[in-house]
Symmetry: C2
Amino acid sequence: MTNTVPGAGRRAPSCVTGLRERKKQRTRGALARAAMELFTTQGYEATTVDAIADRVDVSQRTFFRYFAGKEDAAFVVDEIVEEHYVAAVRDRPAHEAPMEALRGAIRETWQELFAAVHELVPAELHMRMYQVVESTPALLAVRLRRQAQLEQRITEVVARREGLDPRTDLRPQVLVAAFSGVVRTASQAWGQHADVSPETMRRSLERHLAVFGPELLGGWRAS
Amino acid sequence: MTNTVPGAGRRAPSCVTGLRERKKQRTRGALARAAMELFTTQGYEATTVDAIADRVDVSQRTFFRYFAGKEDAAFVVDEIVEEHYVAAVRDRPAHEAPMEALRGAIRETWQELFAAVHELVPAELHMRMYQVVESTPALLAVRLRRQAQLEQRITEVVARREGLDPRTDLRPQVLVAAFSGVVRTASQAWGQHADVSPETMRRSLERHLAVFGPELLGGWRAS
DNA sequence: AGTCAATTGTCAGCGACTGACATAAACTCC
DNA sequence: GGAGTTTATGTCAGTCGCTGACAATTGACT
């Protein structure tokens, strides 16, 4: 089902591990890693697609057969994390309230984040890449769009958990939007932090989540 | 202070209305309107910068002296709305709780939205343009980035209202992020609506805001 | 081994964008 | 109102992201 990109062959099974399929996965991984290394060292704009392709000894044309655009090579990690997150929300115990489930899922996801990605890219590179995306306008825009799409998927999952139709009952949509906004501030704050480590990441998340309670919506002067 | 873009002259006052300045504003407006007309009729990707420039009888190079990129011509309206919103939050009565102030400000802004923009572009074009941005991935990404930047500004304003330092106290940041997420779902839902009118816009906003209360963060099963 | 399908490189071309230079227009001051 | 100085504009050449088309190579299956 999940083909490694170039031409979804009409009869190709693509899930079994033929020599061909392994080769494709290797090239794709190599391209992604090469791209990230160049992006983090030279900057995104200063890196040409030719440079990425040369580093893997393929033609520029081949790069574009694996990635629809230069940007996409920067989001292979995000892609994995997104899948983990969706699965995590889905697998949360049914008795949890929606907000609890989201909180638990994001904690899980961020906890296992580096382990899940480790095979593809070293943690060091991954963290620097996160900052590159945050500080490059063109990439940041794409990340935010991806997260907006992710919100849609999460909304579906939450609605199903509660047995609601998201078009009728707006609560899933609204909760997910608000919650995602909060998570984004947490990751943003973490990205600006000088010491980017799994530990500071966890702490940033908890600090932001702690504030997001019913008291936030009322007056603050009494506090 | 607000120069119309081509070369910020070292001695040019640029706030007074010289013949030169008026001419620039006219071409800038004409370029923006031409761009929006083409974007809404042919689609964003199918519209070339040459086509936009030709329609205003200037060279392609001149277009890029007024707008840093093809995208930017699509966001002159958003820019105005953003300014209105910031001002609206700032001018809210000091006794209002942060959440109240944000709610009031967004209502105000959306109410006067079409009137505020009317001089630059007709309402019809404006609304169709909104949908074009929502349905064009490249443009949607930019809009989301702009809104993220807007959140930062609003956070500053809210923090100042409450006499807080946004780096110490995370509440402004977190509230604004959550609230902005909710507003975004409202505008998104409106954009997908078949009948895009000021009336349906207001209703979408109220429906989404109504859901965003303390009950949302707890369990829903009791309801 | 031979056939078939799928990946790859090469090439030509489009569109977004930029720096450099020359021209023409508007502003300034006398 | 004319001389000199900014400042906007057009032209040109060039880079980079990206795509379609074709031919050559390589893996897969019998």
